[in-house]
Assembly symmetry: C2
Amino acid sequence: MKIYTIKDIARKAGVSVTTVSRVLNKRPDVNPATRERVERVMAECRFVGNANARGLKQPDGDLIAIILRGRENPFLNALAEAMLAHTQGLKASFLTEFVDEQADEFQAAIRLSHEKRVKGFIFVGGRIDERSEVLQDMDAPMVFTTISAENAAFPRAASVSIDDRAMGRAAMQTLLDAGHRRIAIFGGIRQGDDGFAKRYAGAMDALSAAGVPFDESRFVQTRFSLSGAYESARQFFADKADTTAVFAMSDTVAIGVIRALKDIGRSVPEDVSVVGYDGIEMGKFFLPRLTTVEQPVDDIARQSVHVLMDMLEGGQPPSHIVVDAKLVLRESVAPCQG
Amino acid sequence: MKIYTIKDIARKAGVSVTTVSRVLNKRPDVNPATRERVERVMAECRFVGNANARGLKQPDGDLIAIILRGRENPFLNALAEAMLAHTQGLKASFLTEFVDEQADEFQAAIRLSHEKRVKGFIFVGGRIDERSEVLQDMDAPMVFTTISAENAAFPRAASVSIDDRAMGRAAMQTLLDAGHRRIAIFGGIRQGDDGFAKRYAGAMDALSAAGVPFDESRFVQTRFSLSGAYESARQFFADKADTTAVFAMSDTVAIGVIRALKDIGRSVPEDVSVVGYDGIEMGKFFLPRLTTVEQPVDDIARQSVHVLMDMLEGGQPPSHIVVDAKLVLRESVAPCQG
DNA sequence: ATCGTTACCGACAATGTTTCCATACGAGTT
DNA sequence: AACTCGTATGGAAACATTGTCGGTAACGAT
């Protein structure tokens, strides 16, 4: 199948490439008859413009990258998809880029800003590394999600997230309300991710408000995958078998933990209660259904793209935007038996 | 942050752009001292070439697109990721493109072949529409996965899949072996997807070999999502409550069905047995663990990219490649009680 | 001293598109 | 008749890079 260029179309229609470009970009200054003729030829040839050549000249619409950390994470994927849904009709174009869990997303950003002249970034599930010199002199606007940039003081950065501290407190509170006292926390401390740190702090708030001391050895740092959580849980419960509840900082981790619990003969929620975080779809289908902190995926997505578009048009970035989340009670938490 | 071009680098290093291009492409004919100097300047400026300009001139390496149907499907995602893992060191570059469930992936392919001069395609989870005229005169090589192109007779198309008929038979056989007779099949008949049709045919093979007649009303056509399967199952079991086993044509569907079963007070596998298909990771963590047909993701991926690379180099396409799959027995199937 | 070879490097064309500037032409104004 | 003006069109430069071709210098061989 022949690939036609704008030049071929021009020749076939008996006009100049300039004119073809004009009808392609729906400019007004072309004779209706000519326009119609050119359009017919384009349709016949199934003409589609070359994106590389167009990108070279960088047209009006800016290019924005959504950078996704990890390809498998269902929550982050849902977030990215929701963002794409909010980009319709905007005068920018979007691309999504995946980076490995352990890769440096800023390297990716810097590469994209050169390679494809990307003008703005949305990081989903990213970190903020304030010492990163590449980040320091990156002048493209950036939006971070699920973490907060309020203390980062980059020139053109904003962030959108739920109030992780409050929701961490709420998650822990439901376990306390159910009478649990020996509670484990499965999370991760990731450099540059204050989301996890805030969830942890919130959990501590609830604990100390209730006068329940936290046994540091019940904090488990785990990989954020089904298998990682499973292994961590097997190991943890071999040691701390008297734990009656778990606050898992992601639903994926919660599921891995529940599977492990089941494998050592404990049932959920009868023997051990579990509360998750994120609100992925699978949580509604798992057995038991997950009690979890549900992130408002659509709100986060909408705010993120709007804030970024604002910044692109020169608007002052609001350093941090908080959206409302809610804790949804399902089946994985029950009153403490022990 | 300034975006440097090859021209800036040339000026700073006191050489011509040609020379810079040469060191960029690691060509041998440049003086080591010059090379070192240019490389230093590039490092200082954090220079990264413009992908658009490079794409315009289209260098030796061809561009290949992996077209993924749906963004959420864990099996297809795993397949795509495995493919990417097998592209390392190949002299082609790859991009992955998502298309909506209900969109036409060939439209996307045709667009990519124009827009980005994509030279080859791998469709993961796609269909084959033989009447598609765009497909007919597409001369770029294509590889289809999870379906078979053996009857399609396109000039440069190949396919890689497991033996769906045999595995459909095996899945049904395990249910028959467990003593089940009133068995439902949850699947989809999709135009151009002979994978589902073959699974169905295989199931029929097993049934008729065992002398068990199939009640057509126990074939349920469902959306391939958790919620779609859930709704279909609720509806189906309200009517056909005496069904003791389900063959679900994907693990996602199996999970939706199990959730529905549980909600109407039936347990799995005690009351109803379920066998899934695909072998997604969640199947190993779900309660109960899924008995399923495990697709050899890595084999399919490897074969797909190798076959495509062969075709790109002018090799004759093997019309269809079959890779071995196995049925893994876990917890969701038990002997029939009724 | 001249030739051929090799290593290294630069000028230039080409890629497909958009944009800026120029041109042609008819209508309306002085 | 000489102008401006607006509409419709084309020519050519520009975007950043690669590949082709030719050129220069150095060097050993004749």
